[in-house]
């Protein structure tokens, strides 16, 4: 189990003067401003959970992750992984965790991928049997065989990310930290990464903490979402609950006759939002307050829809709304 208790990280940043004279001045007198990257963050993550850790750029996600895997020391508060503080017992925790930083590779740049894996086998002291078995499993879910003998620097971003993910899983960690594992990847590559994470979680009960800006990752993988903004946690709970934060918003997309004039037909009796564009009509409403059935009835009987699709509000919309409300609140 992972537990964060009032975790705080401050960075001291020198205030630099402008231009050459300012630069010379900073040589002699240094003033610092203290930036709180992470403020009083507390949460718990249970074994086998896949948790989405989201927030905008610079919200403090990576800093939290780095403290959780023992790279950074917190200024105050603590992280406990199975009761141990990772930055104090770094080596002990290191064999329990796997980490992927999407923005940089941990593989050795100049040597073939398979050699990197062999190095990791030695570093983590993985037995031959376990190594073979896991390698086979990772080959299957990540299809690495095509570029196994290539030096890492020649791999495409998607291949490299799959390789990095495989590298972080070779020693079968109990906890997997993924810091933007799908950054810059195409749809298919993202799909592969997601499937591998799911398979790993199902087979080995690996706990996964995932940061991402792609809300599809969250919707496909996570049962729980933690949201951080300006260093503080603003949401911690199940995915369904954050999706319904603004009510059970549904959208109906209809195909209609392009000549239909919305203004002239009978109005719907209730609070719905209708937009028409060419032959398409979008209806948004809160399904907690208005029955879906009555809206569908209205769509077919009044608007004469020829086709229809119902969709739930996307997490992306919710996050957008939360962030813009945060902005306004400031």
């Amino acid at each position: 189990m992972i537990e964060l208790i009032n975790l705080t990280k401050e960075f001291k940043k020198p205030i630099r003067g402008k231009g050459l004279s300012g630069m010379i001045k900073t040589l002699f007198s240094r003033k610092y401003e203290v930036i709180e990257a992470v403020k009083d963050v507390s949460f718990k993550i249970n074994e086998g959970e896949i948790v989405g850790y989201i927030g905008s750029n610079g919200a403090g996600k990576s800093t939290t992750i780095k403290m959780m895997c023992g790279i950074l020391n917190p200024t105050r508060g603590k992280v406990l992984i199975d009761g141990v503080e990772p930055y104090q017992k770094r080596k002990q925790i290191a064999s329990k965790i796997g980490v992927v930083f999407g923005q940089k590779t941990q593989l050795w740049w100049d040597i073939p991928l398979i050699e990197s894996f062999k190095v990791l086998k030695e570093i983590y002291q993985i037995s031959d049997k376990d190594y073979q078995e896991r390698l086979q499993f990772l080959f299957d879910v990540l299809s690495l065989d095509k570029f196994l003998s290539q030096p890492v620097r020649t791999l495409s971003l998607g291949q490299r990310m799959r390789a990095d993910l495989a590298a972080s899983l070779l020693h079968n960690p109990e906890i997997l930290f993924l810091d933007e594992p799908t950054i810059g990847l195409d749809v298919l590559a993202k799909q592969k990464i997601r499937e591998a994470i799911k398979a790993m979680n199902a087979k080995y009960k690996t706990t996964v903490i995932l940061t991402t800006h792609d809300m599809n990752d969250i919707e496909n993988l996570c049962s729980k979402v933690i949201m951080i903004e300006k260093g503080s946690i603003i949401y911690d709970g199940p995915l369904m609950k954050i999706k319904h934060k603004f009510g059970n918003i549904k959208t109906l997309v209809l195909s209609v006759n392009p000549d239909l004039d919305i203004g002239s037909v009978a109005k719907f009796d209730g609070d719905i939002d209708i937009k028409k564009e060419e032959d398409r009509v979008d209806i948004r409403f809160n399904a907690d307050k208005i029955k879906l059935e009555s809206v569908i009835n209205y769509a077919f009987s009044v608007l004469k829809a020829t086709d229809m699709k119902v969709s739930d509000i996307s997490i992306e919309d919710v996050v957008k709304k939360i962030l813009s409300e945060q902005e306004k609140g400031k």
């Binding site: 023992g70 080596k91 030695e122 570093i123 983590y124």
Partner: protein, 277 residues
């Protein structure tokens, strides 16, 4: 326990073998410098008041030239240390995180690398160069060949001293490297390290040339173990007791400096802000 570090030992050995061309250039530069030094010493001895057979600070010209050639080979084999630059780039690029998330010690990785580099350099250059130059100097009478057991013992002691010199050099370089945690820059630190090392280790000229009190201080510093002491062991300038004394001094310094390095690392790592991401 040590098995985890094997790949780092292998990698640094392989790196040196792969970048052979680099090494050859470096070897040429070293040889040129050495030739200059040899001619310099010749003219120093020839132009001194007592002529070519003067003894300066306990060295006649033959011994001086042997010393110069041997230190050159020695430093070429043992001083090819990348530790400071590796730490520097780990800090700059933020790749230090890659090692901190693995179940290995950051220090241990560099020790393994230093030993790997030393082994390959000894095999490729150290053994053949020492064997050839020792034989040549023996044949032309620059070295008096001792009894066989003295020779064997001193070679063994020399090998121990050389290994300790590799460790000591890596420890010193590592400590200088750790200051990159605070400065985020490496050039100044490396120049300071290189200057101190070549001046106080007797690479530039034997420590016997320094003024009396200063000489004693320098002899107690860790640097003497880096090149002067191993060479003087090989040249039978030390009796067995003195050999043990200088080896003991090196071991003591390695322990003290490793502890110091641990302290600096633990303080410095709190200051590290892993860049990017």
């Amino acid at each position: 326990m040590f098995k985890r570090y094997k790949p780092f030992l292998r990698a640094s050995a392989m790196d040196l073998a792969v970048y052979r061309f680099n090494l050859i250039i470096w070897l040429l530069v070293t040889v040129l410098q050495m030739v200059c030094m040899v001619f310099l010493w010749f003219s120093v001895y020839r132009s001194s008041a007592g002529g070519i057979n003067t003894i300066i600070n306990g060295f006649n010209y033959k011994e001086m030239i042997v010393y110069t050639v041997f230190t050159t080979i020695f430093t070429f084999v043992t001083f090819n240390n990348e530790t400071l630059w590796l730490i520097y780039s780990d800090i700059r690029k933020g790749t230090i995180g890659n090692y901190l998330i693995k179940p290995i010690s950051y220090r241990g990785k560099f020790i393994a690398g230093a030993i790997g580099g030393y082994l390959i350099m000894t095999l490729m250059f150290g053994l053949p160069l020492f064997a050839i130059s020792y034989t040549v100097f023996g044949l032309i009478g620059f070295i008096t060949i001792p009894t066989w057991y003295d020779l064997v013992f001193h070679i063994l002691l020399f090998l121990v001293a050389q290994f300790l010199a590799v460790l000591l050099n890596d420890t010193i370089t590592y400590i200088f490297g750790l200051f990159c945690f605070y400065t985020s820059s490496g050039w100044g630190l490396n120049s300071l390290r290189a200057t101190l090392t070549s001046f106080f280790s007797g690479t530039l000229l034997p420590l016997a040339f320094f003024p009396p009190v200063f000489k004693d201080i320098v002899n107690w510093m860790p640097f003497a173990g880096l090149s002067q002491n191993p060479i003087l062991i090989l040249l039978l300038k030390y009796d067995y007791l003195s050999c043990l004394k200088v080896l003991g001094l090196s071991i003591a310094w390695i322990i003290v400096l490793e502890l110091l390095a641990k302290l600096i690392f633990h303080n410095g790592i709190k200051k590290v802000t892993v860049q990017g991401g």
